[in-house]
Symmetry: C2
Subunit: 467 residues, 2 copies
């Protein structure tokens, strides 16, 4: 494991806050070692830094109460959803109180006429979509994991269909949040657009719990499309595949998903999901629209693919065949791990302008091979975002060091290409030096905003900014 940075602990304050909260909340506050460690755990390679206690509030008022107690004693609060974040977001480097939001899991109101829904932060995206299905509605953001919607907003998550529907930034209409002083705000009303003052919604989305704790979300919904069609196409090179993607986007084909799997990923998928795909770079696509529209879209894509020597193109509108393919895509993390049993997966997350994508993916593959690292690559390539999953023996200091070097090299490369070190995973603890490299002076003004809204640095300290 890579050692996470520790911050000074306020022992007196922590003891006092835990005592007060125990009296107030009884069983809703847990201090057992196992539960604390579990709440420091994420799908990450950064050392677990457990909080001192975990609170399980059931209402905004309870969250505000907890924050007020912590504010009074200068004690950190760290929000927790499903623990699927990847950059040490829920670690407690200065100790403090973890606020587990998963008991706040009510769907408060569906406004079908307005295509929006109001939910508590512990509702997961699958829970929401199951609930909505009968009404012909869905929430489109799909980061893979069945994450909590509060966590998805906090990290500005996106995933496979951001190319069509945007990221959390584009799909949150309004938030309710508990601020560092315990004040409760609502960032906007339910109108579809507004020019009313500073965009506090977007300021909180992606702030990773460092500016406020999200206690309610108003989300945009979509009507379930009349028709959905999937397609796949193999290519002779990553370069050809990326060029086909670029042209698809330029032609304005409204693809709902366009995913790249490199040859190694296809090999992993074949083995894990019992498929028989050519082990060369593959694009998986999904089209949403009318019956005629999705066929038109997939035909247009097919002719673009042909220009770039695509082969084995296949498209289907039947649900069963679609599911099989997309299930394989969703299982890529597990499939990749099977390429090297016992290895730990470390995911990179760069995103570059699409004109640089082929070059960036190619360089990443060459670099990994040159370093002797096994690193299957998958990508939400319509947005220029891809993940190399480094399969590392964590007992080998040499491999860990190589992984570290690769991650840093790739982040620097993406930044040099006018891209970002994180397309969707967030900064957390792991990428703070790269945020500095990426945005320089701008981080000084971010720090000013942070200091203004959380002067005592109690909101998820040690994340995003080096302060």
């Amino acid at each position: 494991m890579v050692q996470a940075t520790s911050l000074p602990r306020n022992e007196t304050g922590i003891a006092a806050a835990v005592e007060t909260l125990k009296q107030r909340f009884g069983d809703q506050l847990q201090t057992g070692q196992a539960i604390c460690e579990q709440h420091g755990h994420t799908t990450t390679w950064i050392t677990n830094q457990a909080p001192d206690a975990v609170a399980f509030p059931t209402s905004t008022e309870q969250v505000a109460e907890i924050v007020k107690v912590c504010a009074e004693h200068g004690v950190p609060v760290i929000p927790y959803g499903t623990g699927t974040s990847l950059e040490g977001h829920v670690n407690a480097p200065a100790g403090g109180i973890c606020i587990d939001m998963m008991r706040m899991d009510r769907i408060i109101a569906v406004h079908a006429e307005d295509l929006d829904v109001v939910v508590q932060p512990g509702v997961t995206r699958e829970q929401l979509n199951t609930y909505l299905r009968d009404q012909g509605l869905f929430f489109p953001i799909d980061p893979g994991a069945n994450a909590s919607l509060g966590g998805m907003a906090a990290t500005r998550a996106s995933g496979t269909n951001a190319v069509r529907y945007g990221t959390m930034k584009d799909n949150v209409l309004a938030l309710e949040a508990v601020m560092a002083d315990g004040g409760v705000i609502r960032t906007a009303q339910r109108a579809r657009k507004s020019s009313a003052g500073y965009d506090m919604t977007r300021l909180l989305v992606g702030s990773e719990g460092t500016l406020g704790l999200i206690t309610e979300l108003t989300l945009k919904l979509q009507g379930i499309p009349e028709a959905v069609r999937s397609a796949r196409c193999s290519f002779r090179s990553v370069d050809d595949a990326c060029r086909a993607v670029m042209m698809t986007i330029q032609y304005g084909i409204p693809v709902a998903r366009i995913e790249l799997l490199d040859a190694l990923s296809v090999r992993a998928a074949n083995a894990y999901s019992g498929l028989d795909l050519p082990e060369t770079p593959l694009l998986l696509l999904e089209f949403h629209g009318s019956d005629a529209g999705v066929v038109e879209q997939s035909d247009m894509f097919a002719s673009i693919a042909e220009e770039f020597s695509g082969f084995d193109f296949a498209a289907t509108s039947t649900a069963e065949e679609r599911s099989k393919l997309w299930q394989a895509r969703h299982d890529m993390y597990w499939a990749s791990l099977q390429l090297r049993p016992g290895a730990k997966g470390i995911s990179t997350d760069v995103c570059v302008p699409i004109s640089r994508l082929a070059e960036c993916v190619g360089a990443a593959r060459d670099k990994a091979e040159g370093m002797g690292l096994m690193a299957p690559i998958v990508g939400h390539v319509g947005d220029g975002n891809f993940h190399a999953l480094l399969l590392i023996d964590m007992d080998s200091g040499n491999e860990r060091q190589k992984a570290d070097e690769f991650v840093g090299w790739l982040n620097d490369l993406a930044i040099s290409m006018d891209g970002t070190c994180t397309g969707e995973h967030g900064i957390g603890q792991g990428k703070r030096p790269y945020l500095q490299k990426e945005l320089g002076e701008t981080t000084r003004y971010m720090a000013a905003v942070k200091a203004a809204l959380d002067p005592d640095n109690i909101m998820n300290p040690g994340k995003i900014l080096e302060m």
Copy 2:
């Protein structure tokens, strides 16, 4: 004219700053009364409050220099584009230096492969679209006026095709801005999405020059659609028209524009633009897509309209007929003024959840009629946003008072319907009390952000927040 609030003037500081800037910038700084008054002028009913001088920088470095001088002397800086804002945004209630951005009008780089463009803030949207046409690209946001892109970002503008393409918030990838201390920041790289830290882009978009001065914008572009089709349909009532809109949006028809004109507006358009439309509520639509796609979309709309007793439906894909109709829509402001020659137009700008739209528009029309106010209504109804244009004899104290009462009443009504007092015009000076009503406690945290980034309150003071 309605009296704008004045703020205390820092006479010594202003004199010193003007003196320093004159020496440094020569003719690029103007202090003549006419030019100062012109730069306090907007399409607004709020009293002109002229700055003490107007600077005409040609580069980011010059803007930073000006801001540094003003910061040193505690003197306000007010950014100015085309002067088409509607809520007193460019007034100088405490005097100070207006920074006219219109000499910063270069299109710096078109990245056709990435569908983005880098421009200076003085580029207007028509200038940009003329420049892009040969490359098959366009920038979709159309607020009506040929506004500067910097101003459009600063007010979070939108307009007729926000229903399809979003607002400025959705179409700005990154900004360069000069901050209150003269520091220059770049808010993001050119990647299509990012989870790298606080969303400083969205914090600046809509901040109306109160947090930083936008000196460069990276904007998303769209490919010019293969086919564009327009349609119009008349309805027996605003209620029927709004219900048809609601169903169109629910069905997920990707309308590029869907505009409502009430009966009075249609009358004005007939007279001004030589049309012969039935003088009942009218919907104007535009569809973007493939040749087959736009016909499918307009057919789907036609059957929805029929359900709500729509009549005189007509659709066309020929450019000439389309232009005629949309020119009439764009001329509505001038057409409306002709309903009452000599009157001044005062525009409201509420936006409500679409389920409340019919009720809100109906109530606005009834209220205006009940008060004896002539107020044609047009709306970007796909988003729930509409404008009642009050035609007021500004020499009549009674009418001015009625207008004031109507505006306040409508803002309150929209807020009570979970809507906003401003869908796209911004808060400026005029709507500060309503921002408070709309978002309450949240404005306290907005004020904290403002104080952190602009501790001496020199960036466009007296706008958005009551401080």
